[in-house]
Amino acid sequence: MSANHSLPGPDNITRVMLPNGITILTRSNFNSPSATLSGYLNAGSLFDSDEKLGLADFTTSALMRGTERHTFEQIYDSLESVGASLGFSAGTHTAGFSGRALVEDLPLLFELLAEALRTPTFPEDEIERLRSQLLTGLAIRAQDTGDMASMAFDKLIFAGHPYSRPDDGYPETVRAIRRKDMVDFRHRTFGPQGMTIAVVGAVEAGFVVEQVSRVLGDWQNTQQPLVPELPPVRALKKARRKNVRLPGKSQSDIMVGAVGPSRHAPEYMPASLGNSVLGQFGMMGRIGDVVREQSGLAYYAYSSLSAGAGPGTWEVSAGVNPANVEKAIELILAELKLFVEKGVTKEELQDSQDNFVGRLPLSMESNGGVTAWA
């Protein structure tokens, strides 16, 4: 037995806040000569207008297409030559980044991260290339039964709320985005306030803090806006349903659910354990048992709780033959009714509690697993 048997916690994670507001979280793990980096800043699609929805996503995707010091090709040549990776993507609240490298190449990741955040040039030709890729992604999404079910679900659940919108926009809104929009978006929303960066790997905490300070310590943005206030979600008065028809598909995707608690709500942990019983524990919980094991209707049938800074969703998802859609929905609704009316048994609760505690060491077995908790 040797070191590093302890779970990550305050005694082995270093947390430092730089004077400009950047929070650094770092944990050493010398088991493998590699390191993982991830983090976010408050620059998500919440800042997008309806007309240019997808701007946060497009902007973050374009950050590494060229900087004041390096071209697209130079950036990726330096990364790929050493088997390292770094990428950005936007969510609703945040723009996130993640990367990994052999520890000897970690300084390269920090430098490219800072360059991409602080001095991207958004070259016109690269933007157009990227636009074609994003539009193709949206065309593929339009034919994906799971994606379309999920989008229709969000539209119903979050009607009138920013969460009803897909972060990557629609073809017409992505076409409407100009280079100037991206330059403005980055200039306005990107900054050190509220930025978090986590590094786990074969490095000492001091080295990480020194590196981040070196490349981002003098970053300022006095105009950085406050995170937009979210309007409340209006609960549905009665059940609503929407069918999206995609001809020629051999399987339909179903999503059934409701608004769920935010990650900060006191109900989050009870809901999370309840969700485990409902559609996760063992072979996908009660839902998996009824829809898959007993009825043989689906290869996957489970429930999930998606919670973040704002209201989340709590839903059941299943993929079934188009002829079995109604039957599957009936089974799911009956199971939800039972769950709502009768709750869970003492034994079921204990099982899920044991699982939540027991699985912690496993979820932390890689550097990426640890940074995901930061």
Binding site: N4, N29, N31, S32, F72, E73, L79, E80, S81, V82, G83, A84, S85, G87, R100, L102, D105, R129, S132, Q133, L135, T136, A139, I140, A142, Q143, D144, K242, V244, R245, L246, P247, G248, K249, S250, Q251, F281, G282, M283, E293, S295, G296, L297, A298, Y299, Y300, G319, V320, N321, D351, D354, N355, F356, G358, R359, P361, L362, M364, E365, S366
Partner: protein
């Protein structure tokens, strides 16, 4: 870190043990030498279906007890069926691993294959197949595989053909299970936080009483030399066109596997061989990305092969640009292939591919599950030294060997070109 311990039990079960004390975890893998390559026409998909039935319980561990027991202990478990093999794994907190050992020893011989469970699983597997039929690239890949292998059983997908999924019986499944799930056809690998002596004693106690069976034969129907390029189209609902070009490529134990891995890195970016973790490296400076995506002829390109026993396929998948045809991308691909056939890569290019592979190997060792996976994975098509010598073998590849591999394998006659043509795209609400 200790060395590997390799033992063959009296009943023929091969055991590989490796102590790794970096985390309080143990990952346990049991591999069987059976996969879709062992399935004759009429029984396609049977290996994968047997794998599903292995989760349906034994008298000692009924289905409902089994998954709950693992989940309660915070374990993770799953199984995979491939063309050449089937594998089951559990990664558990170190002090709970005995459950996994008892469970795997038990279901090596005692699974029930209840008729009702077989019938309900039939429709689950049909649903699994219908799910992949929703994906244009699955449809295209299946058509290409079918065209590439007329004789060899690699011609069908692991999931099996719908006709067989409808007709395979409980007895077919049970016989398949009893024939192939014998200790002398299996390899057991455990890596993690244990003491080898104790672990081996426990494995012997649980597994050695299981009787050996006749060594199951493997279906051998070698594919003859191709007689020419094959071209095909698949049509379906979609808005996007795809191009897949697959070249017949050697098996993993062939010395040419290594120059081909370097060639893959150069042309399409490095492939990640790790099953868990390791992450990918982007391919934006690969030759094909530059020729296709930078030039605006396509929106994505990927390349890759699988480590297989028999010769399989080295494949490029290209997503067409919305304003360009797949044929234009094919012409650009051909030009790049000709370039590497005409001129060997530089020594720097080859060195770069090796550094990329080294990084991905390091990422893969962060994770106990992945390390345990590697212990016996290579046993399925070579042996453990295939894994331990992989980087050195790669580092020994010369530019001339890469060029020769391109000349040998990336020939027009040696390939299948498939195009997915979108028809009737667009849905409504």
């Amino acid at each position: 870190m200790t060395d590997l311990t390799q033992v063959t039990l009296k009943n023929g079960l091969k055991v590989l043990l490796k102590e790794i004390h970096t985390a309080p975890l143990i990952s346990h893998w049991l591999w069987y030498r059976v996969g879709s390559k062992d399935e004759p026409t009429g029984k396609t998909g049977i290996s994968h279906w047997v794998e599903h039935m292995q989760f349906k319980g034994t008298p000692q561990f009924p289905a409902s007890v089994l998954d709950k027991a693992i989940a309660r202990e915070g374990g993770q478990w799953n199984a995979f069926t491939f063309m050449d093999w089937t594998t089951y794994y559990e990664t558990m907190p170190a002090d709970k691993i005995d459950l996994a050992l008892r469970l795997e020893a038990d279901r090596m011989a005692n699974s029930i294959f209840d008729l009702e469970e077989v019938e309900s699983e039939r429709t689950v597997i049909i649903a699994e197949r219908e799910g992949s039929e929703n994906e244009p690239l699955s449809l295209l890949g299946e058509a290409i595989q079918h065209a590439a292998f007329r004789i060899h059983p690699y011609h069908h997908e692991v999931i099996g053909d719908m006709a067989d999924l409808r007709t395979i019986t409980r007895d077919d499944l049970y016989n398949h299970y009893r024939s192939y799930y014998v200790p002398n056809n299996a390899v057991l690998a455990v890596a993690g936080d244990f003491e080898t002596k104790k672990m081996l004693a426990r494995i012997k106690e649980l597994f050695e009483p299981i009787k050996a069976g006749p060594t199951p034969p493997r279906l051998k129907r070698p594919e003859p030399e191709p007689v020419g390029e094959i071209r095909l189209t698949v049509e379906g609902p979609e808005e996007t066109a795809y191009l897949q070009v697959s070249y017949r490529a050697p098996g993993a134990s062939d010395p040419d596997f290594y120059p081909l891995a370097v060639l893959d890195s150069l042309l399409a970016g490095p492939s990640n061989l790790n099953m868990f973790g390791g992450g990918g490296v982007s391919n934006k400076t690969s030759r094909l990305y530059r020729a296709l995506i930078d030039k605006g002829l396509a929106v994505s390109v990927h390349g890759g092969s699988s480590a297989t026993i028999d010769p399989f396929l080295y494949t490029f998948v290209i997503t067409a640009h919305p304003e360009k045809t797949p044929e234009i991308a094919l012409a650009a691909l051909d030009a790049e292939i000709k370039r590497i056939q005409d001129e060997p890569p530089s020594a720097e290019d080859v060195a770069r591919a090796i550094k990329q592979a080294r990084a991905m190997f390091a990422f893969g060792t962060e994770n106990i599950t992945n390390q345990a996976f590697w212990l016996a994975y290579a046993e399925m098509f070579a042996d453990y030294s295939w894994f331990t010598s992989y980087l050195a073998r790669l580092a020994a590849v010369t530019p001339a060997e890469v060029q020769r591999a391109a000349q040998t394998y990336l020939r027009t006659k040696n390939r299948i070109v498939g195009i997915y043509l979108p028809v009737d795209g667009g849905g409504d609400e």
